[in-house]
Symmetry: C2
Subunit: 216 residues, 2 copies
DNA sequence: GTTGTAAGATAGTGGCGATATCCAAGTTGC
DNA sequence: GCAACTTGGATATCGCCACTATCTTACAAC
């Protein structure tokens, strides 16, 4: 297929497709002449993944480039590619000052969960420490080890189930793309369901309080 | 305290504090003269909340204004204020074409969870339908009712626990600010823990597959 | 008084994600 | 064979957003 068809099928403006080609997010098509090139289903899939990451995951274009580099590096084992991708997606603008206490809390949590496969350089580990440090700073919110354990237990259950559901027999690029998009989209799905749960349960306690203290 | 002290204590650049005052995110201080005004702890708390929502939650400034409007409207009951805030935070750029099938799946899910307090206009409900529609479109990922139920069950448990932990006896603005910041920060905490869980469990299945098929 | 800084208003900056325009070279319809 | 159209490719421009810098006036403290 030609660029214009690619653009139509993915419902992405032609100018944007060209932009992605320019940025190296989308590999160039197979040239069939000096001013002509052919694109296939892989390009279409890749383009859909890119748009999903941008629109649902709000991943910046610069990060997308790092992600496709990992995706397309056939020498990189699947698990290492996922690690690179996880780091890129979690990377924020904030290196921030390290808080040793918070980092220790996080490492204790990781140990108590038996998560012995987490890399020490994991961006998520550092970022979590940043959040914990923020929670334990000024303000009424606090992150006790018990509360963190509760969250981690739930997250472990969710993550374990999700990993068990992926079809590990697919070929490398499909596998990576599916894990990536699944992680992003279902992450959003869960976040929204949590919000909906808040709305429902908050309504219930408010009503209970109102009927329990009718004159207050 | 004076603006400069407010800026120092919250570790926010003075120019940014002035910007927030201009935008109406931060109420003006009590004027003690034609060119002088006094700020108190409420301003400091509010400023910290605003920065947290921006930095952790990546909430746009325009949304912050809508949020503080709800926060400061003393006539708005707490639950209604939370509903407004939830809608503002979940609002994306995408009204998008409605997919009746996806919306029906979402409504079935909501019914099966017993979530009878969700407003029909809830932005989250619509957004979830958008994601489901995307999952059931082209691509290998699919959102079956069973999978959605699994996510919703977990989300319900999490949300219920979180709601039970908030101190409902605090005064209105503290209560709202705490629920809001808690929701945003712990949402991030959970998301990161999920990622860490993925990293650990994926490493385990990869290793199991490698030792199970040593010569493949 | 002199100096420093607050408050307030106005204008400017930088990053990012596209989008628009132009051009030379092929392709297609006739 | 010829004209109209489209493609790939390069360059320029746009719009939004979150700040940030500058300037002015007036008060406060020494």
């Amino acid at each position: 297929m030609l660029v214009s068809e690619l653009s139509e099928r993915a419902e992405v403006p032609l100018a944007t497709v060209k932009y992605y080609l320019r940025e190296g997010l989308l590999p160039a098509g197979e040239p069939t002449g000096p001013r002509r090139a052919e694109y296939d289903e892989c390009h279409l899939r890749r383009l859909r993944v890119l748009r999903l990451l941008r629109e649902v995951g709000e991943v910046p274009v610069a990060s997308l480039r790092q992600i496709v580099d990992a995706l397309d590096d056939a020498d990189l084992p699947v698990h290492d590619a996922m690690a690179v991708i996880a780091d890129v997606i979690s990377a924020g603008p904030e290196p921030g000052a390290q808080d040793p206490d918070a980092l220790e809390m996080v490492d204790d949590l990781i140990t108590s969960m038996g998560w012995d496969r987490i890399r020490a350089e994991s961006v998520d580990r550092i970022r979590l420490a940043g959040l914990v440090s923020m929670l334990n700073g000024p303000g009424p919110l606090g992150a006790s080890p018990e509360v963190l354990q509760f969250y981690a237990g739930l997250a472990d259950h969710l993550a374990k189930t999700e990993i068990s559901l992926v079809d590990h027999s697919a070929d490398r690029s499909r596998l990576l793309e599916d894990m990536l998009t699944g992680s992003v989209v279902y992450g959003q799905v869960f976040a929204i369901l949590r919000q909906l749960g808040h709305e429902h349960h908050h309504a219930e306690v408010v009503q209970a309080a109102a009927s329990g203290t009718p004159g207050a």
